[in-house]
């Protein structure tokens, strides 16, 4: 078993603790889509290239996420509703170290 627990707070404020596979090369944006926690077409619009910020989320319980890369950082500087704890879900790859992560989806912009 290589699932971990990740908690997603959706755009209506409802909290969902979900099982996240660590062996399928998935990221947090894809996890949200897989569990249908945001309507299709409102998240992951660019497919996960850090080019649209539709998967922006606020990290509530930072379990030690890797640093942002340049692309993610640049996109967040162009996005709206950005806070200090903003990240792009598509750039957070699901690894065993992320067990217990809690993120809140940013409003649709």
């Amino acid at each position: 078993m290589c699932d971990i627990k990740i908690t997603i707070i959706d755009r209506e404020g409802v909290s969902h603790e979900v099982d996240a596979p660590t062996d399928m090369n998935m990221n947090v944006m894809e996890l949200v889509r897989a569990y249908e926690l945001a309507p299709e077409g409102t998240i992951g619009i660019c497919g996960g290239m850090a080019m649209c910020a539709s998967c922006q989320c606020y990290v509530i319980n930072d379990v030690g996420l890797p640093e942002k890369n340049d692309d993610e950082d640049a996109m967040l500087w162009e996005a709206f509703n950005v806070k200090d704890n903003s990240r792009l879900g598509c750039q957070i790859h699901i690894t065993p170290e992320l067990d217990g992560l809690v993120v809140e989806l940013a409003p649709e912009a």
Binding site: E40, G41, C52, M75, E78, F80
Partner: protein
């Protein structure tokens, strides 16, 4: 009025390939797209990214795939209405359709295939009070007609390619260009970043970083903007404010056409021909949904092919046809060209 057999809405890979399959059945196509160039997401969002799951191509650049599709459909002479968004649809008594764009261009077609992907691209708008009031009164989201900006004072906001490219372009046209971004680092092609740096040093582009527009001023037209660095505000007089924060796709006017919509996509009959709940209107590619739907280019190609067969039967009831293979039959273009396999010779060997 533009006349065609199949009116395709969306010039992405699925819409373009539909032209090819329609052409094999002697059906003519016309394509409407809101962007100024064909290709949809591929050319607008990620032209240089490689795609690895197109059958037969171990790797193909997104823009290259579109170039190839344009070459592949050339002999079927598709018409294009670009830079216009399909807005309304009317079904006539004979079952044909009239589709009108936001600019009033009318298209008459025997069938309509919506290949709209994620929707039409609309600008992402900054959250500013009165922004809507100033639209077309000094707030512009696109540089469609550069002459509008001749000898004017312009403020451009954004940190990506379009903010860089339009700053460069307009520095030759406008009286004054100010580029505003929340930080001093920009994401774009290296030569664009370097060019802006040169123009800044030559005094042709003013830069305000970190900076963010927090208010727009003017009575009947924009006369200036307030730019804040988080601590102090400054009022910059200008004639135009151009926020360039990228584009986001929205289903747009199609959502009001009476089609069954589920999950921001159009429900279709996938057991048969990808027709929607309105007879004669089809939806193919990323814009449709059905049980098991996958948003993949290769699935869009398949859906386009089945749609064309269905349209053929709709337009030519009772007219017999069997699927042909291009290797056997070749391709007869509407432009008079013919492509075919080289014929073997029958010749004695001495």
């Amino acid at each position: 009025m533009i006349e065609t057999d199949i009116l395709i809405i969306g010039a992405g890979p699925t819409g373009l390939f539909a032209v090819f399959e329609a052409g094999l059945l002697k059906l003519r196509c016309h394509i409407i797209d809101g962007l100024p160039q064909p290709g949809g997401q591929l050319t607008e969002l990620y032209p240089k990214k490689p795609i690895f799951d197109i059958p037969g191509y171990p790797s193909v650049g997104a823009a290259e795939l579109i170039d190839n599709l344009m070459e592949q459909i050339k002999q079927f002479e598709p018409g294009f209405t670009l830079n216009e968004v399909a807005e309304t649809i009317d079904k006539l008594e004979d079952g044909s359709f009239v589709v009108t764009t936001n600019k009033g261009t009318k298209h008459h077609a025997k069938a309509v295939a919506i290949a709209g992907g994620l929707g039409s691209f609309e600008p992402r708008k900054p959250q500013l009070e009165n922004l809507g009031y100033y639209e077309d009164k000094g707030v512009e989201y696109f540089v469609k007609n550069p002459e509008l900006f001749r000898d004017k004072k312009i403020v451009i906001a954004g940190g990506g390619d379009s903010a860089l490219d339009w700053s460069i372009f307009l520095s030759d046209v406008a009286a004054d260009v100010t580029l505003v971004h929340r930080r001093n680092e920009f994401r774009g092609a290296l030569d664009s970043v370097e060019k802006v740096q040169d123009l800044k040093h030559q005094g042709k582009i003013k830069m305000i970083t970190p900076g963010e527009i927090t208010a727009i001023h003017g009575t009947d037209h924009v006369s200036g903007v307030t730019i804040s660095d988080g601590v102090t505000d400054q009022l910059i007089p200008c004639d135009y404010y151009i926020p360039l924060f990228g584009l986001t796709p929205k289903l747009g006017p199609i959502a009001n056409w009476g089609l069954d919509i589920e999950k921001n996509a159009i429900k279709v009959n996938n057991a048969l021909d990808y027709q929607t709940n309105i007879e004669g209107i089809y939806a193919i590619g990323d814009v449709n949904t059905y049980p098991g739907k996958l948003k993949l280019i290769l699935c869009g190609f398949h859906e386009a092919t089945l749609m064309c067969q269905s349209v053929y039967n709709r337009i030519n009831p009772g007219k017999k046809y069997v699927l042909k293979y291009t290797t056997v039959s070749g391709i007869d273009g509407f432009d008079g060209s013919r492509k075919e396999a080289e014929k073997p010779v029958v010749k004695a060997i001495d």
